[in-house]
Amino acid sequence: MNIKDNSIGSKIFDVINVILLVAVGLACFLPLWYVLCVSLSTKGAVNAGLVSFWPVGFNLDSYKKIVGEGAFFGAFWNSIRRVALGTAVSLACILLAAYPLSRTKKQFPKRDMFMWMLIFCMLFNGGTVPWYLTMCKYRLIDNIWGLVLAGGLPVYNVILAMNFFKNLPSELEEAALVDGAGPWRIWASVMVPLAKPSIATITLFTMVGYWNEFFQGLVLSTREASYPLQTYIQQMVVTLDYSSMNAEQIAEATKLNNQSLDAAKIFIAMIPVLLVYPFLQKYFVKGITLGSVKG
């Protein structure tokens, strides 16, 4: 802590500690910076392995090229729609369900039955294959609603919201009751407004979750036009399989591959997360430290 300690051992520790932590910080930042540098460098420089942490032959060609790629924008648009619809649907379900579940057993006798149902679904699943066949039966292949609903109810977030509601002082609710408010009025005018910070946390996590998800996008799509952006990147941005090639083949394949363009696509896919990142940071500490509840 901030207690002065002038011993030599402590001074040496301070110096090493600063160097180490700055190095750790750089290790988290530089890989992302590297992608930006590659996307801004010439193809030749990238293929020759000249680019490290500064663009070589700065140009915007890759970004100009992306403008002409319909598939990329199609996938981007799919992801935007998925995030918008998914966040709206999830939030509505989470907040509505969290209120009755935050009632005591006296107020809502069946509460525990619903809780156990939720918990069981959070801890157990039938596995990938039954899930996939069920989605096929629902005809959610190549369907935006498949990308929104297929993951199932975000039970953990319901529990998070429920805990927030539970921890609100009960006097507020009792005052509203005395004034003649019914459950919907209490929910809309007391519970939801007071839980704003927690709702912000859940909203941001839901948005990032939908944006980042790629597996459902992969197995629930039969054509490229249905891919969300992450799946598009996973499939389209060819990462060369060096494993099965010899050195000459690798050199040949590398020349054909436009790494700079791929890097530009990866960077664009990161931008939405980077944009909400400051808000995420503001709220997520609360989000995870309030995961448990006292009493």
């Binding site: 402590s10 500690n17 700055v22 750790v24 609903l149 109810l153 690798i250 997360v273 430290t289």
Partner: protein, 296 residues
């Protein structure tokens, strides 16, 4: 206060969530009957011939199941241990940082990878460790031969665990840092007055102060023993590293959804789900018993 009139409204409020839960969480669970059938898509789930435990017997006779099991457990347990210790060390070091101005910037930057998907991070990692990537450039600069990092079976597990730490340690450290903020500063001051140096203070105050948190996180991670991280491995592996990197989830995906051996894949998936359920339940039970942690 019990108000009978309210009950109806409580049920209405639960409808959307419960419908979603039933259709997308519960209905797929019934599909596990396929594990006990010789599933034939044209006959459907309820008319395919029932064959009892044959799929499970076959599964235990397969030559690769042992390898997949041990890959899964080694990678998962490696990650659990690393993800308990590295964030702890990082949190202690960050807590001791003497230039306080650096505290926020470092914290801000270390969380960042946590919020990016493994698709993105996987591509970045493959580029950085690629043949013409910066790591091999450095190796070449010092006169070494380029290494095919993600094509070498013996390097795969360390790389998987290492990159997983890279993604998660900053986020995991939040819990530790929050707990450390709760340690009363008077304890440090009193220890300093008593002549305890810095390392003694870390050892006798900081560590005991977060002991419970570490134990709780360790217990709760019990449920992850069979979770080696599908997203990460799926985005980083290739046939050359199957021997050390193929895990239950990736195997189930390939056998079930690529080779369409539905019954066998369901059986393996079911085994994983059941074992995980037992472990998670055990974890929560122990957390409740020893640390008073309640999920709800």
């Amino acid at each position: 206060m019990f108000n009978k009139k309210f009950l109806k409204h409580y049920y209405i409020m639960l409808i959307p969530a419960i419908v979603w839960l039933v259709l997308f969480n519960i209905v797929p669970m019934f599909g596990v009957v396929m594990a006990f059938e010789d599933f034939n898509p044209s006959l459907g789930m309820w008319k395919s011939p029932f064959i009892g435990l044959k799929n499970f017997k076959y599964m235990f006779q397969m030559s690769d199941i042992k390898q997949i099991m041990s890959n899964t457990i080694i990678i998962a347990v490696g990650k659990i241990i690393a993800n308990l210790i590295v964030p702890l060390v990082f949190a202690i070091l960050l807590n001791e940082l003497c230039i306080r101005k650096l505290y926020r910037p470092i914290q801000t930057v270390v969380y960042l990878p946590y919020f990016l998907s493994w698709v993105i991070l996987g591509k970045i990692v493959l580029n950085i460790f690629g043949f013409v990537g910066p790591v091999n450039s450095v190796i070449n600069y010092f006169g070494g031969e380029s290494i095919n990092f993600f094509g070498t079976a013996s390097l795969f597990r360390p790389l998987i665990i290492g990159t997983d730490i890279w993604k998660n340690f900053g986020y995991s450290a939040i819990v530790y840092l929050a707990t450390m903020l709760g340690i009363p500063p008077e304890l440090y001051e009193a220890a300093a007055v008593d002549g305890a140096g810095r390392f003694k203070r870390i050892w006798h105050i900081t560590l005991p102060g977060i002991k419970m948190t570490v134990a709780l996180l360790a217990i709760l991670s019990l449920g992850n023993v069979l979770n080696a991280g599908f997203d990460q491995i799926f985005n980083l592996y290739n046939p050359l590293v199957y021997s050390t990197g193929d895990i239950l989830d990736t195997w189930v995906y390939r056998v079930g959804l690529v080779n369409l051996q539905f019954s066998l894949a369901t059986a393996v998936g079911l085994l994983k789900s059941v074992v995980s359920l037992v472990l998670i339940t055990l974890g929560y039970w122990m957390a409740d018993k020893f640390a008073g942690y309640k999920l709800f």
